[in-house]
């Protein structure tokens, strides 16, 4: 029997790769793929797990979805929130990352990155609660105290409509920018200095150099940050639950994640909640695919 050494090595490698990957795949199937498929299945039933009978209703939950005004409001709010928050996040984090990357000393860079990263470590439920009572609180909240210094009467922010959504966006930016600052700083520091210096010699100012040299060169980092932040923001939940558990005044701060929770655990209507979750899944998937296509870059400066 003849033996081919390269084939034997290949088989060994395959076995090793399989041994490494199979547990990961099993984990993924068990805790990601299966729940998604199970959730899609549930959306076809009038489902309450405590019931002895959960009748199959076909597409009834999806038909209900189409006629549900609160659902469409939640879709609109989710999209507005994501577009505004992700855009603001990227602009602010790029600006901060650029400033940090040009700082002269390493310890200063580390210090600023650490300071900005601290809110990312804290649990969002906790920081949301601190903001709800400490900053936005009607009686004694920081915002109303500052307003008072300028002679402005205290305001109950939880009675507002679009302002509530704006405050949630501000909170999200405070809580979440640190992560993207770190990513962008790493991206900017990876750009070879020669490009920047060449542009400077040609007479380009710092703004032009950033916009036309550095920004295109960190295209891959930019695409990663934009896709991940967008996908992440579509699933933001804690701050909405804390600030506007019932969706705020006239549901102006109701987003899809909170609506899923409300339908599941306030109304115990889990079949319908699964249909809403399926709609959210489709929305995130479509946006991620579109972003991926738009931001694809086929080059490298390396």
């Amino acid at each position: 029997m003849c033996s081919l050494p390269f084939l034997e090595n290949g088989m060994k490698n395959n076995r090793f790769v399989a041994a490494v990957l199979i547990p990961g795949f099993l984990f993924l199937i068990l805790f990601a793929v299966f729940p998604v498929a199970y959730g899609l299945g549930i959306s076809l039933y009038d489902y309450n797990p405590a019931n002895s009978q959960n009748p199959f209703t076909g597409l009834e939950n999806y038909r209900r979805l189409i006629h549900d005004e609160v659902f469409w409001l939640a879709v609109k709010n989710t999209i507005v929130y994501c577009l505004a928050a992700v855009t603001a996040n990227i602009v602010i984090t790029l600006f901060l990352a650029e400033i940090i990357s040009v700082l002269p000393s390493k310890w200063m860079k580390t210090m600023f990155r650490t300071i900005l990263f601290i809110p990312c470590i804290a649990p969002m439920v906790g920081t949301s609660t601190v903001w709800k009572y400490g900053i936005l609180g009607t009686d004694g909240g920081l915002l109303n105290k500052i307003a008072g210094l300028f002679g402005i009467a205290p305001k109950n922010w939880f009675l507002t409509t679009w302002q509530m959504l704006l405050l949630i966006i501000v909170f999200t930016l405070w809580a979440d920018i640190g992560y993207n600052v770190v990513l962008f700083t790493a991206g900017l520091e990876g750009v070879p200095r020669e490009f920047d210096e060449a542009a400077a010699i040609d007479g380009a100012g710092p703004v032009k150099r950033f916009l036309w040299i550095k920004l295109p060169l960190i295209g891959r980092t930019f695409a990663f940050v934009a896709i991940m932040t967008m996908a992440n923001y579509f699933q933001m939940f804690a701050q909405f639950r804390v600030f506007a558990a019932n969706g705020g005044r006239n549901n102006t701060a109701m987003v899809l994640t909170n609506y899923v929770f409300k339908m599941s655990f306030d109304s115990f209507d889990m079949g319908y909640a699964s249909a809403v979750a399926a709609a959210l899944f489709v929305l995130v998937f479509m946006v991620a695919m579109a972003q991926n296509k738009l931001m694809r870059s086929d080059w490298s400066y390396e």
């Binding site: 309450n48 405590a50 009607t138 009467a153 939880f158």
Partner: protein
């Protein structure tokens, strides 16, 4: 060989770490000390352990523990483990445990307003016949309504929940001024003492704008005018002349700056303001007294008192929803023993002690004349006289009903030219459509 051995050891240690990390957490409740309640049944001493779930409330949990101890003394074969959870997650926990195919807690204290969600499923055990006889003979009608499904009972009331009828008054702020005894006097005092700044009323007059009190006072105001909101076909209609008049009165209180909407938006109770010297009077059930003495450390009679809310209409009438009760999950491992505990708890001589400890009103007719209760609770005995004037709030999920009603009220307060009748009609239709219990009670 050494490398292989090291690799194998590394793999084993990683698997062990993963297993440990993914292992279930034992003892989730603050009173827990025995791990997963589904695994219990018998302790090492051969005793049967019953798990009792309740929500966090200091005097209530203390009373449950005392009742458990008393039951253990009378029934040496049992131990009762009381586990309490924050109210915000409590209903989710109950829902989750009822969905489990294995046994969870044996006995669960449940808020009547959310009970229909659990009763609608087949996850609760039916109340035994001997206890049903007692329920029908000796319990006041408003306490029972919500625990019925198709003529059967799935819960036993522990209290008569009355969010109307009494108010906490700040004795220090009132000083020598007598408390109001008529509705007109109440409004006059309320207008005089209140002080508004922007969206905040820094000193509140009469407060009934919180998630519990608002709807209860509003319904009482309709009924006391001789009106009705519960129609013969089971639907809700607030847009009656009495309903509109009552709503105009409540809106007037907001417009006059006697109270604000802060408690409605934050989910807090109005009596907190009275206890913090930021309000004169706040409508609340008698349970609010315990918050003053236990949570705020105030002295009844010196710092505050609990007195009747002056009647709005000519005749005493109010609507009440079923209060806290006890349910037994169908998947419980010790259902018979659990019902034994419920029967023990419900015995008049035991129940009255629990009602006293928790500042609750008794649900049993036979306890309305209890000397023990009147002696221990002289400050709330005036409520015992009005209990027979109460009607059940109706076959509705009252938690959802409150959400819609409170939202409508806040919208009316914020509107420049509110269409009160139109808003009441819209809210009535929404409540009828979305909150009506989907099963037959009889």
């Amino acid at each position: 060989m050494k490398k292989k051995l090291a690799g194998a050891l590394l793999c084993v240690s990683m698997v062990a770490a993963l297993a440990a990390g993914c292992g279930s957490d034992s003892g989730s409740g603050s009173g827990s000390d025995s791990g997963d309640s589904g695994e219990k049944a018998e302790s090492s001493e051969g005793k049967t352990t019953l798990t009792f779930w309740c929500h966090e409330n200091e005097p209530w949990v203390k009373s449950y523990k005392e009742m458990a101890k008393k039951f253990e003394d009378a029934n040496p074969d049992y131990t009762v483990e009381v586990q309490d959870y924050p109210f915000k997650v409590y209903n989710d926990k109950i829902q989750t445990t009822l969905t489990s195919s294995t046994a969870g807690p044996d006995i669960v204290a449940v808020w009547g307003g959310t009970a229909p969600s659990f009763i609608a499923s087949d996850a609760l055990a039916e109340v035994p016949e001997d206890l049903v006889k007692e329920l029908e003979e000796d319990y006041l009608a408003p306490t029972l309504g919500i625990y019925q499904k198709e003529g059967k009972y799935y819960g036993v009331p522990m209290e008569f929940n009355l969010e109307y009828g009494g108010m906490i008054v700040n004795k220090k702020l009132f000083g020598d001024t007598p408390y109001p005894t008529t509705w007109e006097e109440l409004r006059k005092v309320s207008k005089e003492v209140s002080k508004k700044n922007g969206d905040i009323v820094e000193m509140k007059g009469f407060e009934m704008m919180d998630s519990d009190s608002l709807i209860c006072n509003y319904l009482a105001m309709i009924l006391q005018q001789g009106g009705q909101y519960l129609m013969d076909d089971g639907s809700i209609d607030f847009a009656t002349p009495e309903g509109v008049k009552a709503m105009e009165e409540i809106l007037d209180m907001y417009r006059n700056g006697e109270c604000d909407l802060e408690n409605l938006t934050s989910g807090e109770y109005g009596f907190n303001d009275v206890y913090q010297d930021k309000g004169y009077m706040a409508s609340v059930g008698s349970w609010g007294i315990g918050e003053g003495t236990d949570t705020y450390g105030l002295t009844y009679g010196e710092d505050f008192e609990y007195v009747p809310v002056p009647q709005y209409g000519d005749e005493m009438a109010f609507a009440s929803e079923t209060g806290w009760g006890i349910i037994v999950p169908e998947n419980g491992a010790n259902k018979e023993a659990a019902w034994e505990f419920v029967k023990f708890f419900s015995e008049p001589e035991n129940l009255v002690q629990h009602n006293i400890a928790c500042n609750q009103l008794p649900p049993r007719k036979s306890l309305l004349d209890s000397e023990e209760y009147k002696e221990a609770m002289p400050n709330v005995t005036f409520l015992l006289d009005i209990l027979p004037s109460g009607q059940w709030m109706g076959p509705y999920n009252t938690s959802d009903m409150r959400g819609i009603f409170n939202q409508m009220y806040m919208d009316l307060c914020q509107a420049d030219n509110p269409d009160v009748e139109g808003a009441l009609k819209e809210a009535s239709d929404q409540i009828t459509e979305e909150c009506q219990i989907g099963y037959s009670m009889d």
